[in-house]
């Protein structure tokens, strides 16, 4: 069975691009556009890797991690995506439990490499 990736991102444009990318790379894909939706999707299905946008309309993406940890549904790895290349937000993501912090837009080769590495 192929690994499942949950894309948490509020821009439908970016979600669509990632959906095509991950589906073509052979993964199962699920999507969420808000913190609430991400918690719901992450709890109802087993997620192997979560691609997490930090700025979401109803809060910080990091809240998703906290909620999934509380209900025992943490994905194997969470890769944070941020538009800010600053050390403070980087540290916050790592402290919240993200395995990697990637600066948007991540070159697709790098993104697929990171996912593969965390699934091993």
């Amino acid at each position: 069975m192929s690994a499942r990736i949950l894309i948490v991102e509020d821009s439908p444009l970016v979600t669509e691009a990632f959906s095509i990318l991950f589906t073509e790379a052979g993964y199962e894909v699920d999507t969420a556009a808000t913190v609430a939706e991400a918690i719901e999707r992450g709890t109802s299905e087993v997620v192997d890797v979560m691609i997490l946008d930090i700025s979401l309309p109803d809060g910080s993406g990091l809240e998703v991690l906290g909620a999934l940890r509380d209900n025992g549904s943490l994905p194997r790895a969470t890769l944070a995506m941020t538009g800010h290349n600053d050390p403070v937000s980087h540290r916050k993501c790592i402290e919240a439990g993200c395995a990697e912090v990637l600066l948007k837009p991540v070159p697709i080769a790098e993104l697929l490499r990171q996912i593969k590495r965390h699934l091993q």
Partner: protein, 270 residues
């Protein structure tokens, strides 16, 4: 103030009142300008973030196509799609430059200082720019520095400064020219490092030496100018150097190349 004002207390009082009113008015104008400047900064920040998202989608889609994930492309198709990726990347770099400027303008830039070898950082930036320079037949040399002690600074910010200076040198130096990086030490204990980025390019007239470090300033700002950019590169470089308590300046004459200098404290003075 006239002689009659000095001898007439009523006139003096009136004059004082006028001055007070004028000072208040001036302060109001300053406050309003500051508020407008903050609005402009916020607008730039918002618009830059909003531009980044669709651009990220464009680049990702184009990369998926270029990598043949949706089927094989012939050479012409791949070249064309590569053009979309490269153009998108260039646009993204410009947006990032605006964001860096905005953070600097609103004092959101914090330095993460470590001790490191400046020559290694220079060599990394040289390497990054090698392909671009080679396209124009330019050489980028580091003339000295192997014996320098480490610097205590923010290496990422320093890379940004060097990247901007070397990028400009590549942009404004005609084919076959030279770009170099040279270090000198100054100060009582030779505890200040001067980094020079020089080129054999078209040079900058003396009257524009100050202008080029101002935000949004370009010596040639006409729509038909041959070199486009945000006009923020040197303003950002200055901000980042000043955060390190350094200074940045240029020595140049039209037609005689340019030498940009900036200073950094060496480890011993941290």
């Amino acid at each position: 103030m006239s002689m009659s004002d000095r001898s007439d207390p009523a006139a003096l009082k009136k004059r004082l009142k006028t001055l007070e009113a004028q000072t208040k008015e001036a302060q109001r104008t300053v406050d309003e300008l500051k508020a407008r400047d903050a609005l402009k900064t916020q607008f730039l920040s918002n618009i830059s973030h909003d531009l980044r998202t669709p651009l990220a989608a464009i680049i990702t889609h184009a990369e998926i196509l270029r990598e043949g994930m949706l089927g094989d492309l012939n050479t012409k198709q791949r070249d064309s799609v590569s053009g979309i990726v490269n153009g998108g990347q260039q646009l993204l770099d410009m947006i990032d430059e605006i964001l860096t400027y905005v953070r600097g303008a609103s004092d959101q830039v914090t330095l993460v200082r470590t001790t490191f070898s400046i020559t290694e950082v220079v060599d990394q930036v040289r390497l990054l720019n090698q392909a671009l320079a080679a396209k124009k037949g330019l050489t980028i040399e580091r003339l000295n520095g192997d014996d320098l002690p480490p610097v205590y600074a923010d290496s990422d910010k320093l890379k940004h400064v060097l990247g901007n200076l070397i990028g400009n040198a590549i942009k404004f130096t005609p084919e076959g020219g030279r770009i170099w990086i040279r270090f000198t030490r100054r100060g009582r204990n030779a505890d200040e490092l001067v980094v020079e980025v020089g080129d054999t390019g078209r040079g900058i007239s003396r009257g524009n030496h100050e202008l080029i470090f101002r935000e949004f300033a370009q010596v040639d700002a006409s729509p038909s100018r041959p070199h486009h950019g945000t006009g923020l590169g040197l303003a950002i470089a200055r901000k980042l150097v000043e955060l390190h308590y350094g200074t940045i300046w240029v020595e140049s004459e039209l037609g005689k190349g340019s030498r940009f200098f900036f200073t950094l404290p060496l480890t011993a003075t941290k």
